[in-house]
Symmetry: C2
Subunit: 342 residues, 2 copies
DNA sequence: CATGTGTTGTAAAACGTTTTAATGCACTAT
DNA sequence: ATAGTGCATTAAAACGTTTTACAACACATG
């Protein structure tokens, strides 16, 4: 000791505080956490010492002892979550922003985990107590990994029986709202353009579309595409469809990247929106808004959804409660220029 | 021990692995980290044991020993960062998304820390090795807190002498590019609408605007507003300005929320964009794109900026290098319908 | 007086890793 | 033979908390 001069002062520890306040480390710990009463006089001495020494708890040490990291992670396996440019700001980021706020109010920080090639490595590199998983697939790799590791996981997505923590999204309701709007504005030859993967939202949209079409006695044609080349694929597919069958009255295209492709194809073909063809999509994101005309879509109330998810997860972690399933708020229709002349 | 049945199996520790492989914990640690050579035979036994026991390192324990949390945090004190709804997806989130990807490639996770009332609490609740600070103010509370705590902090923002880690943003260049574009499309009576706070970007825009206006012999009027009520304030101020001075040829309004207000006021006054008045803003975000016509703005290459910042910070943490200052890529003009008829 | 009860405080163990200094061991060079 | 040199490994000491079991004391109760 007595290391002389002005080297980078080592950070004060709880021991230093204890010594300065003339108590034991355990007492300081109790004073800090409030887990046990400490005499108000000692309490005062301790807070004074903390102040004077500029003590900041070592969170790693605390975490090792308590087994809590004080963080939750947000994941998504959606390939679109990592789209380029400003479109990167989609669904996932909108939820993340709100979840971060809600989490921080519970003294928990949010880890942003982008989709990467090697989920396993991510999970063993990053310390977190629980996870929020956005729109898991049917056999989602993250979900099974997290389950195997026993990490409490809050799913934002489809309702499943065996998922104890969830904010349930009603994709059928979305499909119904959009379909009915198109029908209301007079569309009869409605075309569905939808993703191929087994995601719940694709399935729900196809089911509802088919049911509603049958019920109204409409043709109900659909184009099913792989999600990967969403924009380009949708553009080409729509072009081909119009060439073969002529133009529909309306296109219902839940995935916004595909909606961009659809709009491009319609422009290319000289078809007017909404004069010749109406278009509606699901997520009111930057893509829907940057189109001209802007696309009719849904307000999914993602801020509320995120808050429910974050609070629910943190609550479950704190109380040890195993299950908490709530429904997302009902989506509201946002009528824009792509279905109604402004 | 011998606790009978099937309780929730305790997670395997490095000791268990060591025992199973017939070596000491230290050797397992070395095998894991690669910090020292271990014989390939023992290496194999160890990896086998890890596999068999499903061992996952306890990151808190590791962190305590190494003093590294394996995370970096991203902050911003910008009030606009927490705007409501989809507008929440601004600048900050766009940077965060890209930074998260870059960080994860270096085995570092990104903590999303929204602006809150009590920064001090956030800093002692959350464990992180370094920070990315977006657009700090002149006397930024976060910056001084982080500095006081000795946390390496990468600033994305204005160039300052004493900041060792930075991705420098050239706000003057942005102002010049936008002003010159407005001048090029024929605007002569250009109005600047800008924020009141001491943020570098406000200062740069005012300086450049004044210099350029003088150089060209233009009136160069400006409206300076508090950032808080950006949208409403800009709308009212522009209305008043037009009432007093008549309509300008063009409005240069760097803050996108204010640009929204300006557009609203122009609509209200029955002025056509770009026929009567051109409008340009700085950040090509959701607001700029959702306007009709969409607003001419700048591509700031935020993905590259974020990558530079994240990599630079992680590099500095790893190597202990104290300084790393780089320039952000030059912004590119995005000409849209608000300055040129499409 | 003996016993119980509640309140503050303490000492020491534990959490699971990494790192340091030391140990054996095989081999080479003197 | 002796010393020197690497190499692979180990034992044990940290890292800074929280928690457990216990002690000391004051006070009330029988």
């Amino acid at each position: 000791m007595a290391m002389g001069a002005d080297g980078p002062r080592k950070r004060a520890t709880i021991k230093d505080v204890a010594q300065a306040a003339g108590v034991s480390p355990g007492t300081v710990s109790n004073a800090l956490s409030g887990k046990r009463r400490v005499d108000s006089a000692t309490q005062a001495r301790i807070t004074a010492a903390i102040e004077r020494l500029g003590y900041v708890p070592n969170l790693a040490a605390r975490g090792m002892r308590t087994g809590r990291a004080g963080t939750i992670a947000i994941f998504s396996s959606m390939p679109t979550a990592v789209a380029a440019g400003a479109a990167r700001l989609g669904f996932l980021m909108e939820i993340a922003a709100s979840a971060a706020i809600a989490a921080l109010e519970s003294n928990t920080a949010l880890l942003l985990v982008p989709p990467i090639e090697d989920p396993v490595r991510a999970l063993s590199t990053i310390a977190f107590d629980g996870a929020i998983l956005v729109e898991p697939e049917t056999e989602d790799p993250y979900l099974s990994l997290l389950a195997a590791r026993g990490v409490p996981t809050m799913v934002i997505g489809p309702a499943t029986e065996d998922q104890p923590l969830a904010v349930r999204i009603d994709y059928r309701r979305m499909a119904e709202t959009l379909f009915d709007h198109l029908h209301d504005v007079g569309a009869r030859d409605i075309l569905l353009v939808v993703g191929q993967s087994g995601r719940a939202s694709n399935i729900a949209f196809r089911e509802v579309f088919s049911q509603r079409s049958t019920a109204h006695g409409l043709p109900g044609q659909e184009i099913v595409l792989p999600e990967a080349e969403a924009e380009r694929g949708a553009q080409a597919a729509l072009r081909a469809h119009v060439a073969e069958f002529g133009a529909p009255d309306a296109v219902l295209v839940p995935i916004d990247a595909m909606a961009t492709g659809v709009m491009a194809a319609l422009r290319e073909l000289g078809l007017r929106v909404p004069g010749d063809v109406c278009v509606a999509t699901r997520y009111d994101g930057i893509r829907a808004r940057s189109e001209s005309p802007a696309l009719t879509s849904l307000d999914l109330h993602l801020d509320q959804v995120a808050e429910l998810a974050a609070r629910g997860l943190v609550g479950a972690l704190d109380t040890g409660a195993g299950a908490m399933v709530v429904d997302a708020p009902e989506p509201d229709l946002l009528v824009r220029g792509s279905t109604v002349l402004s």
